[in-house]
Symmetry: C2
Subunit: 294 residues, 2 copies
Amino acid sequence: MECVPNFSEGRDMAKIEKIVESFRAKPDVKLLDYSNDEDHNRLVVTVVGEPEALKKSIIEAIGCAVQLIDLNKHAGQHPRMGAVDVVPFIPIKGCTMEDAVALSKEVAREVSFRYNLPVFLYEKSASAPHRENLAAIRKGEFEGMAEKIKQPEWKPDFGPVERHATAGAVAIGARMPLVAYNVNLGTNKLDIAIDIAKKIRFIGGGLRYCKAMGVDLRERGIVQVSINMTDYTHTALYRAFELVRVEARRYGVPVIGSEIIGLVPMEALIDTASYYLGLENFSIDQVLESRIME
Amino acid sequence: MECVPNFSEGRDMAKIEKIVESFRAKPDVKLLDYSNDEDHNRLVVTVVGEPEALKKSIIEAIGCAVQLIDLNKHAGQHPRMGAVDVVPFIPIKGCTMEDAVALSKEVAREVSFRYNLPVFLYEKSASAPHRENLAAIRKGEFEGMAEKIKQPEWKPDFGPVERHATAGAVAIGARMPLVAYNVNLGTNKLDIAIDIAKKIRFIGGGLRYCKAMGVDLRERGIVQVSINMTDYTHTALYRAFELVRVEARRYGVPVIGSEIIGLVPMEALIDTASYYLGLENFSIDQVLESRIME
């Protein structure tokens, strides 16, 4: 199982190291990456492990962050509602989404009890459709949560019906792996990237598991369609890429390349290779590394 | 490290199981696959492991095969010169070609001594250029080896200068992973597949690490360019695919798909995806599974 918890501390390295310490040198848990952003004042950790071992270390890290971080003194560019803002569990090799949902609920129950923390279940773990989207839960942020949490439709799924005085509230849930994927266009006209982004994304009538926006890469003198693929198993990477190309034709603008930010599951790229080579009867079990991991 | 030993027994399941047994339930060794072919009368095993552990189990399997297989009574379609015909070591994740060469020589020395077996080093481990190609070493097969081995240019690298009475001789060496890759054409004209194969392969002036031949898929009513990619890190999979397409244009014949036979290293397909998506600054370390394996 993979977990990518977000903590509201991106500046104080001593505190950051203490939180990350919860994932180091633990049996069956492997810290893959952590990066703090000073502007966002936020820490994002990527960790994988056996479900039980991962659960223990996540609970420990949440306890650590609740103790160290005071949201009353927190300012940063990224919206946040808690010392631990969001804890997504992501099923990888050998785990199902059901496993991830179950694990997220176990962690939610345990941390609400141990740290007296209100918890909202979100995404695939959500208890109601209006709680699936993290942005909807977090709207109003830490400051607004004091009142919002008392409304019946925003009663937490676990823990007290009251904002934690310093640690706010946390969203915990299960989701598919996100792939951050950008397609670069051979023009400096931001309007074109924005227009293409609107057409390919779900809310604009585009691909179901695709979020997108236009971004200006001023230094390179080009623009970019910046994409979040929210379920690459249903909306393939190559489909987004080819659709950007299709839409760019309208402007006579070439697609000059693309980039993957951060980690990407092997399957997303193997599916892409398989499409372009027109592979017949190919199975992921034919990939050497996939067999070794088994 | 990976090893793909070939044994000259494809029919007697009791003997096959005894040989394969050497790779089962050994610490740090994982049997990935084994398949016996009755027509070829040959067994191909795929095994991965930590170098030292792999070495021990390979030496055991060779001893087992030398004891069980008598080449004087062996007949099959596949050329062979020994009870253990060929033992290639293939460096994978974390191992270098130098490691594989070193390991192949250790195994060669040990089995020549233990089982009184003549050993030829081949491919990257070869002691002279005329010994790189397995087909050149094996020419004349078991039957011809009795005389061939006495010629100075075919003196074995290890062991007696004499064919083993029942087990013949063995080739041991290090090589890149082979990818068996076929491209299907939308025609039933075998001539076209043969012609394209000749143009794309190394000996015909084509790609350096590419062997190819034309094959008739009579049941499907199509033909195929059947390819062995002998070093996908230097001759990329997509390059062979696109070159077949380029050559097929001359005949107005469409490429209708392709297929990978057996195992393929993750990197070969990720490189392909990266090419078609035009990925900028992409590193294999961004692949989640690659990080987990580390």
